[in-house]
């Protein structure tokens, strides 16, 4: 039993029980989410550990990470603000929103603030087209939607994260 498996034994067992015993490879996606929980990205070591648990190769695990947008191989901000600027949101001002947000935070799309707190990304449709401008915030813990946003509400949200950091 490797370190990853030991650390999350109960959770991994619960996940594996969702799939037929001879199809445990199906658990690769949920296990990758667990791996991202602490650092917000999957390390090479965790890739190998997950591969070992599922009887597949680390390369096969890496192919899953590379294929999907919500898995990360490199560290980013603690909070990833993923603004939808796909067609329907763009028709309601999402491109301008994203640009102004970046300007205010002082980074470009795809970059992370110096304190490592915030990454801003432009993403494809998030199925909230009637509530643009909107974004999701991805952290190691999961994903939360923020809809009908303004620059002010978003900056206030970022400010609340900064406060929280100070308190922690």
């Amino acid at each position: 039993m490797n370190a990853f498996q030991q650390k999350y034994a109960t959770e991994i067992e619960a996940i594996l029980s969702k799939y037929p015993a001879d199809r445990k490879r199906s658990a690769v996606m949920p296990l990758l989410y667990i791996a991202q929980r602490e650092g917000g990205y999957v390390t090479k070591k965790e890739m190998s550990e997950i591969a070992e648990i599922l009887d597949i190769t680390p390369t096969e695990v890496a192919s899953i990470i590379g294929f999907y947008t919500l898995y990360h191989e490199k560290p980013g901000g603690k909070y990833r603000i993923q603004v939808c600027n796909d067609l329907p949101c763009a028709l309601r001002g999402a491109d301008e929103f994203l640009e102004k947000l970046c300007e205010n935070v002082g980074i470009q799309v795809g970059e992370t603030t110096e304190d490592g707190l915030v990454t801003i990304e432009g993403v494809m449709c998030l199925a909230a087209c009637d509530k643009a401008p909107m974004f999701q915030v991805q952290t190691g813990e999961g994903i939360a939607y923020h809809e009908d946003q303004t620059l002010e509400s978003t900056m206030a949200l970022i400010e609340s994260w900064k406060q929280q950091e100070k308190e922690d």
């Binding site: 490879r25 989410y33 599922l54 494809m124 643009a132 939607y145």
Partner: protein
Amino acid sequence: MAGQKVTGHRLLLRHRDIPDIGQFDVYTGQGGFETFKKVVTSMPPDEIKQIVLDSGLRGRGGAGFPAGRKWMFVDNNNWPHYLVVNADESEPGTFKDREIMEKNPWQFFEGIMCTAFAIGANDIYIYLRGEFWQVAHQLDQQIQKLHEEKLLGENLFGTDYSLNIYTHLGAGAYICGEETALLNSMEGIMGQPRLRPPFPPAVGLYNKPTVVNNVETLANVALILEKGAQWYRSFGTEESAGTKVFSLSGKVNKPGNYELPFGATYRELIYEYGGGIVNGNKIKGIMSAGASSSVIVATDEALDTPMAYETVRNLGADLGSASIIVLDETVDMRWLVNKTIHFFKHESCGKCTPCREGNFWMQSLTERIWKGGASQNDVHLLQDVATNMQGKCLCALGEFSTMAVISSIERFSEDFKV
């Protein structure tokens, strides 16, 4: 057209009429799960499939395939069977399934549970796009509740039927809405489409017979089994029975989901329900099926066209998932195709060369055409690349990526004069 019967009657977005229907007790107070009990204890699976076929229920994911027919294709010589619910909702402009699962979850559950019984499945997987993290969390808790209420588990209602439901989160890939890509994703390999045939009802999840249906489709099932096929057919048109949740977005005053009987017109949806065009602007075009759609020129004739599978086709477009993106006079079609191609280039899974390469080259052309420096030859080249992609890909993504491009250049040629 059978017609224009009941307008504004809601079968799926019932939380708008019964605000607390998301609470288990309120749903059961409305007779909820009685149908499931009746189905498991007294209805033969073949009868259920026949009722659903007779109701005219068609798949709401976009293809419009008759649900009952799909269920009848399930191979009864190969077991176990699976039901996989497609909650990957990723088509730009589509946001209906999320509202159904969030606000009217028990009706959704009852629908999928009845369906599982009909096709002889003991396991249901709900495949949600990874972004629906919060929805999945909510469903997980509700699945727990269903176990506590003895509506899931072993030997339901004293019969030998057992049923379990599991959620499975994707991780950000539009292609996983395509049913065979979704199955691959569930199996823990890259979400790329499979060659078809065989279709999933013959060879699906883990190589077993599998029905893959959209959330909205299945949310209808319990009501159909409760009230009957003829009742369901009293909504909508002859070929498009029932109601549809239309996701309305873009340049309208009141974007949102509107559930209307099939056969309601674009004009009703956009002007009556959607409150008309922003700033009193003139409407220019309609995308009838999200970014995958041909763009319809918003003439009076188009606006008065009934929204049904058989009628939207006359406008050189498809009803699809009925995600209606409204474009007004301020929208430059060069900008629009650049946006849609940006999406498809990002989402092409890379398996088929025409789609992978075609979208790559289309993007460099649409960028140039929109941002400047293009010649008229670039517009012709774009048309040529798009036309040459059609009919050459394993799944519909490659085909869909060309729709907005080809229709825009043809129908809004003024915008493409360099």
